[in-house]
Symmetry: C2
Subunit: 280 residues, 2 copies
């Protein structure tokens, strides 16, 4: 393994993984190196460009903390997140479609009773959200857990506000015995993904905008069903056709209906895939 | 751009770069996305594996600071660094070959007079290093600058020692009017690259060792010549055939000769490529 050159180095690196005991890890490392090297070879990456790449990743690391996840953002804007979601969420027709997780979920969000206002002070136009969680055969899913999160009217999630004492516009609810849920929050608005870091600079340099169409995040879990991670999008929103993270699915776009008092109503039912069901 | 699936998302992401004004950046982003997506598609990356990848990069970011560069280490152990060096340093026969830069160079290292001991207290067996810097036609390169760095006897660079007040075993020297240089340092020994972080865990999981054969780093610069970044390896070292970063070139391996007093002598001449010369 001396005198490796641009033609034989890829095989040498792959050979170095010969002792990998986990066959899946071996496969992933092998393909990763093949594609990483093929990329560098195809563009004939210069040393200066290589170093810019190192600096880019270093910058992503520097800005990432427990409230900011630049690597997920990067994966999102490169379409890798949505590709991964698409490959792993091939559900039978009739099931609610999945979309990207995004970087703003917080584990252990506060639990609320049905009917509560999860906005908890977040700025925005009031909105009542209600619906039912069902299985593919129409059966209600009693006790389904709904983890919900969204930005406020300024387009910021609670974790993006400095020094907020409590979670806002996020919470966990449990559907009733017939799979029904309802809660109060605020109307979703379009927002720009955090673009004051390396990913923002990359969007800038490639002439892309950082906006996402208005949406409300849901993670719906229930024993015996596959976890559903998705959004509900707002039909009248801008950017439905140019989502910075490529996450829009038409089946997830719906009307958020303005009520006489100025508040909004969102009716949306979720359909889960049983854990054992195969894709259609 | 709604309802993107695993078949059409790659084209949609590439299309999003249509507004990139820099054609080279557009090419790089396009190929990056093609290969990144092809990798994910070929291994059918699961969501759990995707998240492990995010955690891996996040861990690399967390451990990286002004003295530790996990992203360069990652590039090194995946052979990307050496591939990039190989593609960009196609020099005429007779020129000294280049190898990887590594993560331990420090800009602005102390300047020394010829003959000085750059070890500056670093632990190790004394070694005299001397040679001449020439151009490809044999002409001496007066005033060539040599930036030199190496680990100590324990296999650690100065920046890996906590709280060291001064640089050790690194320095910048200027060749004399006939391109000659000489300085004192210590004998290089094999060392393990930092492996207490994510890259080390990856090496572990793939059955790879973290060792590099004994070497001394040089960056040689002179007006009118291409900068040469290279090592001189020690012939009797272990790991010459299994360098963790794939950097060994036979032409850079030479005898470090033991002297009667127990010290060592390394004679090595560098041959630079004129800036305007084309590759052979």
């Amino acid at each position: 393994m001396r005198n490796l050159n641009q033609d034989n180095i890829t095989q040498a690196v792959i050979a170095s993984f010969a002792g990998t005991t986990d066959p899946r890890l071996k496969e992933i490392m092998t393909k990763l190196v093949q594609h990483l090297h093929a990329f560098a070879r195809e563009v004939r990456l210069t040393e200066e460009e290589w170093f810019k790449g190192i600096e880019f990743l270093t910058g992503c690391g520097r800005i990432t903390d427990d409230k900011r996840q630049e690597f997920i953002l990067l994966s999102d804007v490169l379409g890798l997140s949505m590709l991964t979601v698409a490959m792993n969420n091939d559900r039978p027709a009739g099931c609610t479609e999945a979309t990207v997780f995004g970087p703003f979920h917080v584990a252990g969000a506060p639990r609320y009773e049905l009917g509560a206002d999860i906005a908890n002070g977040a700025k925005g136009t009031p909105c009542l959200v209600r619906g039912t969680v069902r299985g593919i055969d129409g059966e209600p899913v009693p006790g389904a857990e709904l983890d919900v999160w969204q930005s406020d009217e300024d387009g910021l999630y609670d974790v993006q506000h400095e020094g907020l004492a409590e979670a806002q516009a996020r919470g966990v609810l449990t559907a009733d015995g017939e799979g029904r849920f309802h809660f109060r929050s605020i109307v979703a608005v379009p927002y720009a993904i955090p673009h004051d870091g390396p990913v923002g600079a990359m969007l800038d340099a490639t002439g892309r905008h950082p906006w996402r169409p208005a949406h409300l995040h849901f993670m719906v879990t229930a024993p015996g069903y596959e976890t559903l991670i998705t959004h509900v999008f707002r039909n009248e929103s801008d950017y439905l056709d140019s989502d910075a993270v490529f996450g829009v699915r038409q089946s997830l776009v719906c009307d958020w209906v303005r009520q006489p008092d100025g508040s909004y109503l969102l009716d949306y039912d979720f359909v889960l895939k049983p854990s054992s069901a195969s894709a259609a």
